[in-house]
Each structure stands twice: as structure tokens, then as C-alpha cells.
Amino acid sequence: MYTDKVMDHFMNPRNVGEIEKPSGVGEVGNPTCGDIMRIYIDVEDDIIKDVKFKTFGCGAAIATSSICTELVIGKSIDEALKLTNEAVAEALDGLPPQKMHCSNLAADALHKAIADYKAKREDSKE
């Protein structure tokens, strides 16, 4: 059902955990199956220094979370915002059709975390 790459990221997920004082946090619940992902980012000079995640969901949800963190560490927030669900699925060599919605979790949570970071930055400027 899953590609080797999905299984690798599922069995050995990268960057699981939390960041103590994160620059931003994003959480999404997938309304279709009730799964939840939370992503923490640490940003310095608009560059994502570190990402951590926690996910409650299927193998695809955990694997997409994991690869998503790998894809954006070291990127600028503008680059990270360009990350799409399709790109996440592609980086895993594809997902089964009935699992495509799981890839929404990761990118959406990341985008929310970045929005949270931006909002916090605006707050602190004021």
C-alpha cells in the first residue's frame, strides 16, 4: 500500500517532539477522519532553524509530517509557504489515492505555524 519512503518516514520519523519556546505553532485537525497534527517552528531572521511535530493519525499522516519537517528546515519562511500538499506527497514517492487527504495535514499545519509566527512578530512590533 505504502512506498518504501513512506514506511521509512513512518517507522523512523524525523523531528518528532516539541520546541520549548517556539517562534510559531500550528495545529490542524483533519475534519475527514479526525486526525490531528501540531507543528512547532523556530525562526531566526526569517529562516526556519528547526521544526518539530506531533501527529495523531495514520501511517501516511505521520510520514507526511516527518518529510514536511525535513523539506523546510533551513528554508526561508517565504520558501516554506510555497510548500504544497502535492509536493509533500511527491517527496514520499506518492500516496495511495484514499490517503491523499492526509498530506493536507502537514502543509496546512506548517502554514498555520508560519502565520502564528508572523502574527506574534506583528504583536511584538506594536
Partner: protein
């Protein structure tokens, strides 16, 4: 790697004696049972021997057994068959919320044909309440279909009592015994039912064959039309190797039932004890009115599919009522009907025992499962919250 198959509720390995009987049938007796010549007569004899063995398994007479392509077809034949045949008498059918989709979806399809369907609720253990049944029966009720034991949580319904009430009311009683025939004692006359479905591949026979018991005198329209096979109730050249395999499996199950039941019950109880000793793991279903092979637990803060995948990497095969495994959007309708919330149903694990399982298998599972739960919970955002006490406790 050690491989421990604990998904016997989904399907079972085929018994070596069953394979042998099927090979002998295909190699030496390939005739069409409808043919006049000796090849046909030999095939016919095998067909009727198998029918006797299957009849014996459930205390029926051979002429009351119709072979089908499985439990799903048997359920559909019973429900469509009786509902349509009795249409002039009434258009009301009663079923329960925890039936297999073969029953539930057949009833839903009848709704589109203008039938009225009452779906009885169940209590937190998955049990139908007798009062609910009594309240639901109407003059125009023609058919009640309630399963003998549930495939997901293993709860065994009081079919004898249910049937008594249904028959007193003058309606026809069907039970889906796919999970019980061959696993616990099943006798159509003790139960009193008019129709009963069974399936071969749940009891070490081949997939693709099952049967419907039809009590003499029960009116029923066929689902399909064609040759005159199976007393015109189920046309088509008979699946002879499959039927022979089913017959052999029935024979073996009849023989080994008492011994296997007590062995399974012991293994099951050990497994339940071990799993429910893990924090926030809770048994689903009834603690005693329960299939000897069935263990079903909810494991909070984790999701079932990822649990199954990690178990699979350790060689353990189980199943889950999680929405993520269902291909549809909802978790198990059975767990939901029992009042279990979505997020907890998501973390359900079903382990179903079989003849090939040993004490050592249970030891292995009880060693592996806690480690995996630990790992998945460490990844779970819900588990965080729990530590912060923001989660509703399991009731």
C-alpha cells in the same frame, strides 16, 4: 521474524485437510453435479456429502442448506429474499445498529424499494435490548435480522430469546452466524431461527463459499435467476471445490469445537488481562457474553492504522475500527453505536485468535504492544494535552 496472525475474525488459514479434500475433488471429481453421466454423479455425491456436514455443524437437515458464494450473499439472499416474498403481508423490517455491512446495506437498499427499516440501538456492551425489540415490532413487521455474534467486538446476542419474541409476533427471524457457526455451539432448532447465514473462510475453509439455512416452509425469492441448482434458490454451476472444502471444514469444526473453545477462551482472557493492564486501555464489548476468539480494546491517544502498521513490522497481524483503515470517513459503526466517541474508536485494536495461536504468541504480543503504544503516544499531540489534563477522561 516471528509471524503471529491475530486476525482470524477477518479470515482464517485454510486447514491442510481442507486443501487435501479440495485437491482430490478438483483432480478426481471435476464433473458438473447436474450432469447425467458418472462424472456428474460423482460430483453430485461430493456436493451432498458436503451439505450433510455443513447441516450437522448447525443442527439442520441437509435439504435446508443452500450454498452461496459467502456470508455476504447469504445475508443478502435472506433479507431481500424474505422481504420481497412477504411484501404483500408487510413492509417493515427490524435490524440492529451493529450488524455487518452485508446486513445493514441490504436493509438500506430495501429502504429505497419502499420498505421501512427500524435499526435497534445497542447498549455500551453492544447488546440489543429486548424492550427495544418488543417496542419495534409492528403488525406489518415481516422480518427481523439480528446477528448472533458481532465480528468487531465479539458480543453474543441472546438470539434464542429474541427469536421467541419474533416468532410469537409471527415474523420471520434471520441471524447472521458468520462469526459463530463453527466457533461456539450453534443449533438452528435451539435458537429457533428461520434463516441463518454462515461462511466457510471464517472456519478454516476456503473463501468464496457460505450457506444460508432456510427452515422448511420459509418463503423466499431468489436473488439471481438461471439453472435449477440449489432448489432454484441459488442458480449457477455449484462451486464444488469450495463447497467440498466448506464441508470438510465444518466436519473438523464439529469435531474440535469443545476443545478449541476452551483453549481459545484461556488465551483470550490472558490477552485481555495483559492489554487492559496498560494505562488507558479499555476493553470494548461484553466481558463474558463474548466470542472466545475476540479481543477488542481502545487505546487512547493513538490511531489504529499506525498501530497496525507498527505491529505488522513486528510480524503481528490485527485489525482496527479506525476511520483511517476503513477507506470511508468514519470509524467503526459498531463502536460508535456502542457510544464510544470518535477519537477513542480511532484507537481501537481487534485481535482475533485461532487454532494456530499458542501461549508463546500471547507472550510475544504482550511484550511488543506496550512498546509500540509508548512510541506512538510519544508522537501524539493528544497525549500532551492529557498530561496537561485538558482531555475528557475515558468514562
Amino acid at each position: 521474524m516471528r509471524r503471529v496472525y491475530l486476525d482470524h475474525g477477518a479470515t482464517t488459514p485454510v486447514h491442510p485437510e481442507v486443501i487435501e479434500a479440495m485437491v482430490a475433488c478438483m483432480r478426481d471429481h471435476f464433473g458438473n453435479p447436474s450432469s447425467v453421466h458418472s462424472f456428474g454423479r460423482e460430483a453430485k455425491k461430493l456436493l451432498e456429502d458436503a451439505r450433510s456436514n455443513v447441516a450437522k455443524l448447525i443442527g439442520a437437515r441437509p435439504e435446508e442448506i443452500i450454498f452461496t458464494s459467502g456470508g455476504t450473499e447469504a445475508d443478502n439472499l435472506a433479507i431481500f429474499g424474505v422481504a420481497r416474498a412477504m411484501r404483500k403481508k408487510g413492509n417493515h423490517i427490524i435490524t440492529s445498529a451493529i450488524e455487518h455491512h452485508a446486513v445493514l446495506d441490504a436493509c438500506l437498499a430495501l429502504k429505497k424499494e419502499g420498505f421501512e427499516i427500524t435499526v435497534l440501538p445497542v447498549d455500551e456492551y453492544g447488546m440489543v435490548k429486548i424492550e427495544d425489540l418488543k417496542a419495534a415490532l409492528r403488525p406489518e413487521t415481516t422480518l427481523v435480522t439480528i446477528m448472533h455474534a458481532n465480528n468487531e467486538v465479539g458480543t453474543i446476542q441472546p438470539i434464542q430469546e429474541i427469536t421467541r419474541i419474533v416468532k410469537e409476533h409471527g415474523a420471520i427471524m434471520h441471524t447472521d452466524a458468520v462469526q459463530t457457526a463453527g466457533k461456539i455451539p450453534v443449533d438452528v432448532n435451539d435458537l429457533g431461527v428461520d434463516l441463518l447465514s454462515a461462511s466457510s473462510h471464517k472456519i478454516y475453509g476456503p473463501k468464496g463459499v457460505g450457506c444460508l439455512y432456510i427452515r422448511k416452509g420459509t418463503k423466499l425469492f431468489p436473488l439471481t435467476h438461471g439453472g435449477g441448482q440449489e432448489r432454484k434458490r441459488r442458480p449457477g454451476t455449484e462451486n464444488l471445490p469450495g463447497i467440498v472444502g466448506f464441508g470438510k471444514a465444518a466436519e473438523i469444526m464439529t469435531r474440535d469445537l469443545p476443545e478449541e473453545t476452551s483453549r481459545m477462551t484461556k488465551l483470550r482472557n490472558r490477552l485481555i488481562e495483559g492489554l487492559t493492564a496498560i494505562p488507558e486501555v479499555k476493553l470494548n464489548g461484553h466481558s463474558t457474553d463474548r466470542l472466545p476468539i475476540n479481543v477488542n480494546v481502545s487505546i487512547r491517544y493513538i490511531e489504529g492504522e499506525s498501530l497496525l502498521l507498527m505491529l505488522d513490522m513486528k510480524g503481528i497481524a490485527g485489525s482496527s475500527g479506525s476511520a483511517c483503515t476503513s477507506g470511508s470517513l468514519d470509524p467503526s459503526h459498531v463502536l460508535l453505536a456502542m457510544g464510544i466517541p470518535h477519537e477513542i474508536a480511532h484507537g481501537s485494536l481487534r485481535l482475533t485468535l485461532g487454532r494456530d495461536n499458542s501461549e508463546a504468541d500471547i507472550d510475544y504480543v504482550l511484550q511488543v504492544v506496550p512498546e509500540i503504544i509508548e512510541r506512538l503516544r510519544a508522537m501524539s499531540p493528544l497525549y500532551d494535552r492529557k498530561e496537561a489534563q485538558t482531555c475528557t477522561p475515558i468514562k
